[in-house]
Amino acid sequence: MHSTMARHQCSYHLLPTVACLIGVFVTALADIHVPHEPLPYATTALEPHINHPTLEVHHGKHYKKYVDTTNSILGDGSVGIGTKKKKSLEDIIRESARQQQKSSSSTALFNNAAQAWNHAFYFKCMRPPGSSDAVTATTVGAAIKRSFGTYQSFRDSFVKAANTAFGSGWAWLVYDTATDALLVTKTIGADNPLTTAGHVPLLTIDVWEHAYYLDYQNMRATYVDAFVDKLINWEFVEQNFVTAVGGEGGGGSKKLADEEL
């Protein structure tokens, strides 16, 4: 919106027009914007498994800070990640991951952009307890059986990964395009499956302490059980899987809209 209005005013004299167009371009760059996606439910909706104070801080402070810092880094031009082309958040994550060796500002961009993505994905991986969806009735449910033998075997694997991530990290269910199979993986810090070729994220659990400390203190295992047994949004996991096997790369992939550039 910004840019169309500015262009309208740029019509008349040559030098000011050139200056104006440069201004438009700079404004466009400054408008790169990763959105702070709203929580898909009320902050009280996941009680008693994850309570309002947790979601309020987790979504409103932690996630928001990652988004704000990402936008700030993208806007200040310190990292030359092709701002002229329309980049999705996933592209930004992959490029900054690759560039991490070369500059510390790429590391900062990666850490924040990946955490922004991870949190948006995580909140969508949950839905209020008692919502009716059954993993068994889904195609991803069938794929789980194919890859793990039984749902219980997948559950054990996922729970173990979540409980054994030392320190801050994430556990994932991913689709591996190379083997056409599902895998449980775990990552440290901000890292996520997007940086592993062929891995498409289907489901995640945040096991940074801030995700569970107010509700469970040090009892991560209790939080993990509650998440797995009461909160997983299997509809979302199913969508991600269907998109993944369809070849689109799933997981809420979202190109930044024209207006946002």
Partner: protein, 240 residues
């Protein structure tokens, strides 16, 4: 080490490493426990805090101190003991792969126990400790330009730790200078860098979440008010 021990240990070690049924299982286990470096028959214990749980208020609440000490640190101690028992078994069975497989658990839980033990000691109630003119202050000035410069740098570096970890002021025995370092997770400073730990600040979220939520900078800036400078000074003297 007594002469008896000097003779006995290698013999026991050799005996314990025999995989064959030449050594009865219970004797093998006793030998392994005897050889284990852990005190009190092989078990580490949770050290008491040098002060009450509310002693560090308002910087760190009693609630945090109770959780941090009785739950988090205690779990590291428990799991360290479990890992050491497994290590004893692997060593006495000559299971090299098993020994190496315990690396992660030992580093994590052993590091957790070491780090937290150091941490409790380098804290003291607000107003009870001040840095004095002496070897520590001189070393800080030499290495950082000034006391406030050191605090500023250590705060920034510690706040910037990604995820879980620790900020440390350490003594470099090779250069004789002080350095600021950070470690991820529970990686212990001395074992992984050679620096002797003088002052540690825990920035795992559990260290500050109850009191400061996500605002780690507020916690780190406030923690300077509860540092036990006498202990830091003593550690430097011992390190030299």
């Amino acid at each position: 080490m007594s002469a008896t021990t000097k003779l006995l240990n290698p013999a026991l070690r050799a005996a314990a490493n025999l995989r064959s049924s030449a050594l009865p299982k219970d004797v093998s286990k006793t030998a392994a426990a005897y050889l284990s470096a852990a005190p009190s028959g092989g078990a580490h214990t949770l050290p008491d805090l040098p002060y009450d749980y509310n002693a560090l208020e308002p910087v760190i609440s009693a609630e945090t101190m109770t959780l941090h000490h009785t739950k988090h640190h205690n779990t590291y101690v428990t799991n360290l003991n479990v890992a050491l028992e497994k290590l004893d078994a692997a060593v006495s069975a000559g299971d090299v792969s098993g020994i190496i497989g315990l690396e992660g658990a030992l580093k994590f839980n052993g590091g957790g126990h070491l780090n937290h033990s150091l941490f409790w000691e380098n804290l003291a109630s607000k107003g009870s400790s001040e840095i004095k003119d002496g070897a520590l202050k001189a070393a800080i000035t030499e290495s950082f330009g000034g006391f406030e410069d050191m605090k500023k740098e250590m705060s920034a570096t510690t706040i910037a730790v990604q995820g879980s970890g620790w900020g440390w002021l350490g003594y470099n025995p090779k250069t004789g200078r002080l350095e600021i370092a950070t470690r991820a997770n529970q990686d212990p400073l001395q074992a992984t860098t050679g620096l002797v730990p003088l002052l540690g600040i825990d920035v795992w979220e559990h260290a500050y979440y109850v009191d400061y939520r996500n605002v780690r900078p507020d916690y780190v800036n406030a923690v300077w008010d509860v540092v036990n400078w006498d202990v830091v000074e003593q550690r430097l003297a011992a390190a030299k």
